[in-house]
Amino acid sequence: MRIVHDRERCQLHGQCTIAAPDIFRFDDGGELEVDPSPDETLRADAESAMDVCPERAITVVADDE
């Protein structure tokens, strides 16, 4: 799976860092770091992050999409 993160839409609320802390985290400067191709075992977290993002800035897509 791949994570598509729309930086234009993102407002840095950080809900994804709660739903999927192994994929999304804030660096020391407050910027969001995203693992673009997380392990398949993190799928439930990834989809939860997609579902809870208030700005709908996250999409989980298949590797070949």
């Binding site: 739903a19 939860s48 579902d51 809870v52 208030p54």
Partner: protein, 400 residues
């Protein structure tokens, strides 16, 4: 360089007569980006509110609310313990448990239920040509939607709505004065939650309360106290804010009949209508933050522990972002963000459902209650803290 405090406007937001929409606030916003208040500072302009709402040097600051109002006891204890006032790992753990009930996908599937419920309620008064909007629509609608979402019986809606309304006074600047009824409502909610939890422990279902009850089997995931505290919060939060925001929306439309006609003609504007209402007349009149460190911000030294109230209505109607246009326009092509759901890690858990259920309700109301107008003076809560109509009698053209 810090600005001398004496030159900064002072807003007595604790006075029940104080209005976040007053000329006094407008003048203060004109004079500068913030004002002093008895609680700390009020941030008045869009630019500073949009930056501070997600500034990581601040935390959600509502934990200090009971102390600001010199209130202690069961309600103050509940207030401090529930998820809104938790931070860090505890907050993340609780939020992860609650997220599944509020996902965007789940809410989309509920739209037909929202429409059916709104239709049923409107049928109850449409022929009469008048209604008391809060008790005949806003309260049953907000309460029964919440009941449907959480899988609890809808027929007790009146009791739940009354408790929610009383508990909602806890977010008003009159909290101290209303403490006995607030605590009675909390007691009622506790009893209700205890019964619900016991029932689900006996008989598991495929619903959200069962999901929480199962998490509670491991107290490190969710303790008994956390289970009860947060069930109360979810029931209360779902009812009270939606009730108030719908009421404020209808009051706004009564004052802008052209916009009401437009919504009836163009139902696709419903999502924009919800955003516009929350920008112009938010029930959450301020978003609270507390500084966890001292820092310089736009000429002000914000010291550790300062309560920072981000004035959502003042920011949303800031002429600096709107130019000359400060009206109410659901069809506007460009609309500044609003702060009615807060922002950051504590972003309103229920925002998808609130947006969905209010949008569906407003469209049906606009179509079936043409020419809506006041039918006597509405009564409002104080215009600061969380606000909304206490009663809102309306008339409309019959027979549609």
């Amino acid at each position: 360089m810090a600005v001398p405090a004496a030159t900064i406007p002072f807003l007595d937001v604790t006075d029940p007569a104080f209005s976040i929409r007053s000329d006094e606030v407008r003048a203060a916003r004109e004079a500068g980006w913030y004002a002093r208040t008895p609680y700390g500072i009020a941030v008045l302009r869009y630019d500073q509110v949009s930056r501070l709402v997600k500034d990581r040097r601040l935390i959600q600051g509502s934990a200090a609310w009971p102390a600001h109002n010199k209130v202690t006891g069961p309600w103050a204890d509940w207030w401090r313990r529930m998820i809104l006032n938790r931070e860090g790992d505890d907050h993340a753990r609780l939020r992860r448990l609650m997220n599944p009930a509020f996902s965007s996908r789940l809410i989309t599937a509920l739209v037909p239920q929202f429409q059916a419920l709104a239709g049923e309620l409107i049928d109850g008064f449409a022929e009469r040509g008048r209604c008391e909007f809060m008790s005949e629509f806003a309260e049953p609608y907000a309460t029964r939607v919440t009941a449907q979402l959480l899988g609890i019986p809808e027929d007790e809606w009146r009791t739940l709505a009354d408790w929610a309304e009383a508990l909602g006074l806890g977010l008003s600047v009159s909290v101290a004065e209303h403490l006995p009824e607030i605590e009675a409502a909390l007691e009622g909610f506790y009893g209700y939650a205890d019964e619900l939890i016991a029932e689900r422990r006996r008989t598991r279902r495929d619903d959200f309360v069962t999901h929480l009850v199962e998490a509670n089997e491991d107290a490190d995931r969710l303790s008994d106290e956390e289970l009860r505290d947060n069930l109360v919060l979810l029931i209360f939060g779902g009812i009270d804010t939606t009730r108030n925001q719908l009421g404020l929306g209808i009051d706004l439309f009564v004052r802008h009949p052209d916009q009401w006609r437009l919504l009836a003609e163009r139902p696709e504007l419903a999502p924009s209508a919800v955003e516009e209402i929350m920008r112009v007349r938010p029930t959450v009149t301020w978003v609270t933050r507390e500084a966890t460190e001292s820092f310089e911000f736009d000429g002000l030294t914000v010291t550790t522990g300062t309560t920072v109230h981000l004035f959502s209505e003042s920011a949303g109607t800031d002429p600096a972002i709107l130019g000359g246009d400060q009206g109410f326009d659901i069809a506007a092509t460009v609309r500044p963000r609003h702060f009615g759901f807060g922002g950051g890690r504590h972003f309103c858990l229920g925002h998808f459902i609130a947006r969905g259920d209010m949008g569906e309700a407003l469209v049906l109301l606009a179509r079936r209650l043409p020419n809506v107008r006041h039918d006597g003076e509405p009564v409002f809560l104080p215009d600061s803290g969380n606000t909304g109509p206490v009663s809102l009698p309306i008339r409309f053209d019959r027979g549609t």
